[in-house]
């Protein structure tokens, strides 16, 4: 019975995540940027823009300029999260890809650094007056969510193992529409439930910063307004008859 409920939950969460995120991205894509507003100095061509965006996404360049502590805990959290996510590919692939097998041990320990990162971000939110002022309950809940996910995951990795082979069977079963039983384990239930919650929240919350950054005109525009005329369709309409 629990297995069926979780199966339904995951199908639903995946649907929300995929449809919601694609919908948001399509809105961003459709919405015009009528004026050239890169924050300068900015790259003057597309190649430069790609590099700027990569530095922003991979290294958090702007955050580094802003505040070293926030950058350090923020980057630690995100880099760890990325490793952890990649490690989890082993539950969705058979046979497991070689590089996924390779990062497995790093991914496991990244769970710990991810937890440290979340703790650091949360500490800032609680102890720094300015950040406390701008925090909403949802900002705290989001961190709590990540903390529970990380804790429950680490608990299963290091303290009380769950039957990972069965978990994998369940996940593969979801993918190939061949229902398998999920091990009866409370910590696992918590872990999976919170992950599903995260997937559902993603397209309707501040987690949209992940796709959003790629659409930020102040970062993704090339600085070439004198060389190339840039005009949006709604602005172009004003020129008819002039």
């Amino acid at each position: 019975m629990t297995s069926i409920l979780f199966a339904i939950l995951f199908y639903f969460a995946t649907l929300m995540f995929v449809v919601g995120t694609f919908y948001r991205i399509s809105v961003y894509t459709r919405t015009p940027a009528p004026l050239k507003i890169p924050t300068t100095p900015a790259p003057i061509d597309t190649g430069g823009v790609v590099l700027r965006m990569m530095r922003e996404v991979v290294l958090f360049e702007s955050l580094f300029k802003a505040n070293l502590w926030t950058w350090a805990v923020g980057w630690l959290f995100h880099a760890s999260l990325a490793l952890v996510l990649l490690r989890h590919l082993r539950y969705f692939t058979e046979p497991v890809w070689a590089w996924v097998a390779f990062i497995q041990p790093f991914g496991t320990y990244a769970g710990i650094t991810m937890l440290l990162g979340v703790a650091g971000l949360w500490a800032r939110r609680i102890f720094v007056e300015r950040i406390r002022y701008i925090s909403t309950p949802s900002d705290h809940l989001m961190l709590a969510l990540f903390m529970v996910i990380a804790f429950s995951g680490l608990f299963m990795s290091f303290i009380e193992h769950t039957d990972v082979v069965a978990v994998k069977g369940f996940m593969l079963g979801l993918m190939y529409f061949d229902m398998q039983k999920l091990p009866a384990n409370f910590v696992l239930y918590v872990h999976l439930f919170m992950v599903a919650a995260l997937m559902m929240i993603f397209p309707i919350s501040k987690l949209l910063h992940a796709p959003g950054v790629f659409f930020s005109p102040s970062r993704n525009q090339a600085d070439n307004p004198r060389e190339k005329r840039h005009i949006s369709s709604w602005a172009k309409q004003m020129e008819s008859g002039k």
Binding site: T39, A42, R124, T136, S218
Partner: protein, 509 residues
């Protein structure tokens, strides 16, 4: 208003503690019916302002990707929270960029997102009330749209875009700001921010010819409405009469004279400033800019050169090609733009900043200087925010920092830099930009100047700096007004071309 005093200098770089409510108040004067209606906005607050404001917000979210993405992407990380000069000077938490954005984001979440509709408290969403509208008027006029926060934001969120949207919504419900909207009205009617009519302008320019003649014995011309001139100079109208602005105008005239460049200003289009940007209204921005297109076509000029003005250079450099076709690279079937682009000389960048023009001439060896003429000055350079973060000069990113400095070094012997965490892309606004250069905001202006004043104090004390060079009309006015509050002589501030004017050799070549 109670007496205005400058805040105490901080022991750098301590981040100030919060003083909630420090800058609460009615905000700047509200535009009257005549001013509002002159721009096609409702004369006073409309009865259905709530619905109008929400529908305007929806419209803007559909027209500006920046606004849409910026409303969604903020994670409240706080990277921007200590970066705004108005926050540093006032300590009001609502002047933290993120909090200023949240004044609007809270409304966005309530009316345009699912969680905000279902659980407003949880995600910091709130209803649009009259109090919120008043708060917008107050705090969206405590942002100078300087973009400093956007340098540090990991998603490039630019509070200027949010402020512009906020002002645009306020205008659309009949709640405009007097200073900005009155000025835009003057440009539409007369052609410049000051309301200086053509005859007065011609008179002023003739006066300048006499002054320079008296001063140097040389006939430097200051031409108005000359058809067939090579260069059309578009400069902030403050250059025509305000101190120290006018000294830079004399400098431009001397550079044109010494290089044998035929030039003119236009009495119909005698304004580089474009307050349409400040109020975030595309139609107004465009309408103001179109006068320049019209003048260029009418006078048949080959080049358009822009005088020392920060936001005007942002508008010229970044927006003119979009708005008016002044630029290059329009599609062949784009008749509107091609009409002008065929006329312009594309061996030069269109438009050209006066600093680009002068530096180009210096590099070609067309100008020579008596650097000792500036020896009484120990000079530092203030990067104006809109030039630094919203535009460029020259052919590579960052040219906007090098070219003005290169000119100063070419015309003077003593140049020093201020604290690097306050120059180049990290420069602080003067405290009077973004449509806030009005006496009813003097308290804010004095406080907002704090971060610049404290590093100026440093170089004044340690290196004897006695001249603050700038390339922005608003910076010039703002600094001359607020510097006395900080114990500086108002005459310390001047334009880069004022220094050029001091040192240029006119008879030589």
């Amino acid at each position: 208003m109670s007496e205005i005093t400058a805040p105490a200098y901080r022991v750098i770089p301590i981040i100030p503690a919060l003083k909630p409510g420090a800058m609460e108040g009615p905000g700047p004067y509200v535009a009257n019916e005549k001013i509002q209606e002159g721009l096609g906005f409702p004369g006073k607050l409309v009865d259905d302002w709530h619905d109008k404001a929400i529908s305007k917000m929806g419209e803007l979210l559909g027209k500006y990707r920046s606004l849409k993405v910026f409303m969604d992407a903020c994670v409240h990380c706080g990277a921007c929270s200590d970066k705004c000069h108005y926050f540093i000077g006032t300590q009001d938490p609502k002047n933290m960029p993120v909090a200023r954005q949240d004044l609007m984001r809270s409304i966005y979440r309530r009316y345009f997102t699912l969680p905000g509709k279902l659980f407003p408290k949880l995600v910091g969403a709130r209803d649009l009330t009259r109090e919120v509208l008043d708060e917008w008027h107050n705090y969206y006029h405590q942002c100078s749209e300087c973009r400093r926060c956007s340098v540090f934001c990991p998603y490039g969120i630019d509070t200027a875009e949010v402020t512009m949207a906020g002002r645009e919504i306020l205008d659309s419900v009949g709640y405009g700001q007097k200073y900005d909207n009155e000025i835009i009205g003057k440009v539409h009617k007369i052609g410049n921010n000051l309301g200086l009519p053509g005859p007065a302008l011609i008179d002023t320019m003739e006066g300048l010819e006499e002054d320079v003649k008296e001063d140097t014995g040389i006939d430097v011309r200051f031409p108005v409405d000359v058809k067939g001139a090579e260069v059309l100079l578009i400069t902030p109208s403050a250059d025509f009469f305000a101190e120290p602005h006018i000294d830079s105008l004399i400098g431009y005239g001397k550079v044109f004279h010494a290089t044998g460049t035929s030039w003119t200003i236009s009495s119909m289009s005698s304004e580089a400033a474009n307050f349409g940007m400040f109020i975030g209204n595309y139609e107004q921005l465009r309408k103001v800019a179109l006068r320049i297109r019209e003048a260029a076509l009418e006078l048949g000029v080959k080049r358009i050169v822009v005088g020392e003005c920060g936001h005007a250079w942002r508008v010229a450099y970044s927006f003119w090609n979009t708005l008016t076709g002044v630029g290059d690279g329009a599609d062949q079937d784009d008749q509107f733009a091609m009409m002008l682009q065929r006329q312009l000389d594309h061996r030069y960048k269109q438009p050209t900043h006066i600093c680009e023009f002068t530096w180009d001439m210096i590099e070609r060896g067309a100008l020579s200087f008596d650097k000792e003429a500036n020896d009484k000055h120990i000079i530092t350079f203030h990067d104006s925010c809109n030039v630094a973060r919203g535009s460029r000069m020259g052919g590579y990113p960052g040219g906007q920092f090098d070219i003005p400095r290169n000119i100063i070094k070419a015309v003077a012997n003593h140049f020093v830099e201020m604290d690097p965490s306050t120059t180049h892309e990290k420069t602080f606004c003067c405290g009077g930009g973004g449509g806030l250069l009005t006496d009813d905001l003097m308290d804010l202006r004095v406080k907002g100047a704090l971060p610049r004043m404290e590093v100026l104090k440093q170089v004044a004390d340690e290196q004897g700096v006695n001249f603050l060079a700038v390339i922005c009309a608003i910076c010039k006015t703002q600094f001359s007004k607020v510097m006395p509050y900080y114990g500086f002589d108002r005459k310390m501030v001047g334009g880069v071309h004022q220094l050029v004017s001091n040192a240029i050799k006119l008879g030589a070549k």
